[in-house]
């Protein structure tokens, strides 16, 4: 994939990144806001995500039903995501239909209605979304682990928010959150696809140029102190399957140790797929943890999760325990593998393999224009787009010693959270 992009900033602070791709008559347009669950105070958890829902409820110019139908009629897809650090909205459309998407995003940066009736019906929709997640043992476990890992830093709650806050957040809370953070100087527009850069830039200037810059917005960020011992917890719930989550402190996406940690993750649990669209993952059956846990019949599945965030988040290992084994047996095997990677240098071949896997995942991701547009903005949320374009080169510089060093530095038992989902039985009937 070619990586030549156009990058500019309007006088009101709005960042714009454009990448022409002419392989298909498609354009993918994203607007990113630098606000996510990490910016939420206690009592307002989940508000960024709920605001994202409200942004689909219409403006005076584009009532909800009109918009939705217009996008679908043109054969487009649109959606939005809220994460720890950001909120983003996108439309991928046939190239000759992108105009509507550009206009509606500019419009809803300022003009969303937040009708009290819509707030009321969306409250129960969001609560229903949370209840759906609560049906999943892995959600219950990871929510508890995340909360235990962050006493101080606002990464301590799930993006969906706590039920108490979903019940009490008011229409004005939502609207104020929207008006505070949805400003051109807190936003980034990323467009990739079949367009002419000069014309696209002109259009975006027309749409956003007159918006005034809002006040500077400091991000909420309270550094998490280094824990003084392993934190163990259990979550009980229905089912027959035991799950373990072991969460270590990771680094911010911009930190130079992210690269060796990424290789470490690949060696231990198979490569994490960072693509949001397409790009299919690679199985992890030859990873060290699969061999030590699944091949030895202590677990039926194991996965690692490393993600790119603004502040240090977690590197999590999830284990589905074998039905005839005890959690302690699986944990002992995990600890054995972690000690091994801390004590013994990995071979250069093993590292070369991790790099080839990453290269393949990047190639798969480049088949998809929506995914390429996603990266334009996503990389800017925790680093810059250069992070993405130089990622494979940086990975190629990682040495066996680097991997050993980060294994020793970050996979420390006294700084981890060890969570167990203990099943209380199924007891289902028909």
């Amino acid at each position: 994939m070619t990586d030549s992009i156009t990058r500019t900033k309007l006088s009101n602070g709005l960042q714009i990144l454009l990448k022409e791709i002419h392989t298909a008559p498609i354009i993918s347009h994203w607007v990113w806001y630098r606000v996510g669950s990490k910016d939420e105070q206690t009592g307002r958890t989940g508000i960024s995500h709920w605001v994202e829902h409200m942004q689909f409820k219409g403006t005076p110019q584009y009532p909800a039903s009109v918009l939705d139908k217009a996008i679908s009629r043109d054969g487009g897809m649109w959606n939005a995501f809220t994460y720890l650090d950001w909120t983003t909205y996108f439309e991928t459309m046939p190239a000759d239909k992108i105009d509507l998407a550009l206009r509606l995003e500019a419009d809803r940066m300022y003009n969303s209605l937040y009708d009290p009736k819509e707030v009321a019906s969306e409250r129960t929709v969001v609560i229903s979304e949370r209840e759906g997640s609560e049906n999943e043992p892995l959600f219950l476990l990871s929510e508890a682990v995340q909360h235990a890992a962050f006493r101080v830093h606002p990464y301590h709650h799930e993006v969906i928010g706590d039920l108490a806050d979903l019940k009490s957040i008011s229409r004005d809370d939502l609207y104020n959150h929207y008006r505070t953070y949805y400003q051109p100087n807190n936003a980034l527009i990323a467009v990739a696809g079949d367009f002419d850069t000069r014309r696209m830039l002109k259009l975006l200037r027309e749409l956003y140029g007159d918006f005034p810059a809002g006040p500077h917005l400091p991000r909420l960020s309270r550094a998490e102190p280094i824990p003084s011992g392993e934190h163990q917890l259990t979550v009980e719930g229905p089912g027959e399957t035991t799950y373990l989550e072991v969460a270590y402190r990771s680094v911010a996406g911009l930190h130079p140790d992210f690269y060796p940690l990424s290789v470490l993750d690949s060696l231990l649990a198979g490569p994490s797929n960072l693509n949001m669209f397409g790009g299919g993952g690679i199985s992890n059956k030859t990873s060290r943890l699969y061999r030590a846990l699944v091949e030895k019949e202590l677990a039926v599945a194991v996965n690692g999760g490393l993600t790119t965030t603004l502040d240090p988040f977690l590197y999590s290992i999830m284990i589905t325990v074998h039905p005839s084994r005890k959690p302690a047996q699986a944990l002992a095997a995990l600890d054995g593998e972690i000690k091994r990677i801390q004590d013994e240098l990995a071979s250069p071949e093993e590292i070369a393999r991790a790099i080839k896997q990453a290269r393949a995942i990047f190639a798969y991701g480049s088949e998809n224009i929506t995914n390429q547009a996603f990266w334009l903005g996503y990389a800017e949320m925790f680093a810059t787009y250069d992070w993405f374009t130089s990622y494979l080169d940086k990975l190629a510089e990682v040495t066996p010693k680097d991997v050993q060093r980060v294994a020793q530095a970050y996979l420390r038992p006294q700084e981890r959270v060890f969570g167990t989902y203990l099943p209380t039985g199924s007891g289902g009937s028909q």
């Binding site: 298909a24 008559p25 689909f56 139908k69 996008i71 679908s72 009629r73 043109d74 054969g75 487009g76 897809m77 991928t92 046939p94 190239a95 019906s121 129960t124 929709v125 609560i127 229903s128 209840e131 759906g132 609560e134 049906n135 043992p137 719930g237 229905p238 089912g239 027959e240 399957t241 198979g270 490569p271 299919g280 993952g281 690679i282 199985s283 992890n284 059956k285 030859t286 699944v294 019949e297 039926v300 599945a301 589905t320 074998h322 039905p323 080839k356 896997q357 290269r359 393949a360 995942i361 190639a363 798969y364 480049s366 088949e367 998809n368 224009i369 199924s426 289902g428 009937s429 028909q430």
Partner: protein, 429 residues
């Protein structure tokens, strides 16, 4: 090769007879290829005529167990060697089974296509089913079934199929039950493989940065001499007996926070003339925009659910047409009532010309997006072959969609959806 006259840019990008290459090997394998040099990757996808329709009730899940065991060790490589070869180059390959076929799909950087083909051929032609690996896989399948039993959405769907397809093979879950998975022996896997896996009726699609001639050479090289004279004909499916009254069934899964419900009936086959009018009707009912009329009523107005939508599932045999929603356990009856009311209104009054036009525009307009990636194109080619739609299907598709009238939609909806003869399945606490 001549290009069709006056095609728009969009139509020129859709797969068609001049850029899809199709070849049939002497042993019956159909190979389809479409080149795409925009990315250095390649996707393979396809199926073999062996599925759970061949399974006995006592050993239900045998076809899928066999499919999943194919990559656990072959005459040439053991389990770790197979996955070492794949994962070392960032490739992937998976095999699993449905009711009619055993399907496979994989992807690789294009330089590794020969390796991917070797691994596929070894898996389907010379699996060893090592006992130890079979037992490991069995534990994984059983855990999967224990998780399924706790999944409100899975259990509501499974229960829905049991009502709609009573006394029909489609009422059975392809992945079986804990007791049937326990009953399957290594010998059963060996026998199933020997008897049912073969080249006749096999289809393989290759899409990516490879010339068609090269793709054909690759398939010929590893599968050209494959024979299996024992391969049986596909079983004949009995008809589905329509419900004579509405049937409600609930699965209790204690301790859950949300219930799932599925409401609907049997639907057309993919090849039935009703398929496209029913698809468009389904779009109006519970797809278009944010989940059509169902989404509007259940989610937007009543605020009852995060998801509420309808689907039309049409394949080789009879399909299903249903509405699914996840709701608070206290709201199950209210949501079910709203959904039934919407189905009744849909059947009685049909769709407006505007609603139909919206969905028609959506079906045509979304083609470039659905066919953007190699995997999307592979899936389209596979469907063309599976249902004998013709290589020009996507070129004809816009006209077929535009030709549908509101009258046709109401007619097919009345044929399949009867508000007083619905299957209603609920799974929750």
């Amino acid at each position: 090769m001549t290009k069709p006259k006056s095609t728009s840019r969009m139509e020129a990008n859709l797969p068609g007879p001049e850029d899809i290459h199709r070849q049939v090997l002497p042993n019956g394998i159909v190979v389809l290829c479409r080149s795409n040099f925009n990315s250095p990757s390649v996707v393979i996808s396809g199926y073999i005529q062996a599925g759970s329709l061949f399974d006995s009730d006592e050993k239900l899940g045998l076809a899928d167990f066999t499919a999943r065991a194919l990559m656990r060790g072959t005459e040439k490589r053991d389990f770790q060697q197979i996955f070492d070869a794949l994962e070392s180059c960032g490739a992937s390959l998976g095999i699993s089974s449905g009711a009619h076929t055993t399907g496979f799909s994989g992807r690789a950087l294009v330089e590794d296509l020969p390796l991917l083909m070797d691994l596929l051929a070894e898996a389907i032609r010379m699996p060893m089913f090592p006992q130890r690996q079979v037992e490991k896989l069995r534990a994984q399948l059983l855990t999967g079934l224990a998780i399924r039993a706790q999944d409100t959405s899975d259990m509501a769907s499974l229960t829905f199929d049991q009502i709609v397809f009573e006394n029909h093979p489609y009422s059975r879950p392809e992945d079986g039950w804990p007791q049937t998975i326990q009953a399957i022996t290594r010998g059963d896997l060996v026998k199933f493989h020997q008897k049912h896996l073969g080249p006749r009726g096999m289809v393989i699609v290759i899409v990516g940065a490879v010339e068609a001639s090269q793709a054909f050479v690759q398939v010929e090289r590893v599968l050209g001499d494959w024979r299996n004279p024992r391969q049986p004909e596909s079983p004949v499916l009995p008809p589905v007996r329509p419900l004579i009254q509405s049937v409600t069934r609930k699965v209790t899964i204690p301790g859950k926070f949300q219930s799932d419900l599925v409401i609907g009936a049997s639907g057309p086959k993919r090849l039935d003339p009703e398929y496209i009018p029913a698809s468009l009707g389904n779009s109006v009912l519970g797809q278009f925009g944010m989940m059509g009329r169902i989404g509007e009523v259940v989610r937007e107005r009543a605020g009852l659910a995060y998801y509420a939508y309808s689907s039309l599932n049409a394949g080789i045999g009879p399909g299903s047409w249903d509405v699914a929603a996840g709701v608070n356990p206290g709201n199950v009856e209210k949501a079910a009532g709203l959904i039934q009311k919407e189905i009744a209104r849909f059947v009685k009054k049909g769709v407006t010309a505007d609603e139909l036009a919206d969905s028609q525009a959506n079906f045509i307009g979304r083609l470039p997006l659905s066919l953007e990636s190699n995997a999307g194109v592979a899936n389209a080619l596979l469907n063309m072959e599976r249902h004998n739609l013709g290589l020009d299907y996507y070129r004809r598709y816009p006209e077929m969609v535009k030709a549908v009238t509101p009258e046709q939609v109401v007619e097919v909806s009345r044929k399949f959806l009867h508000p007083d003869k619905l299957a209603i399945a609920v799974a929750g606490p």
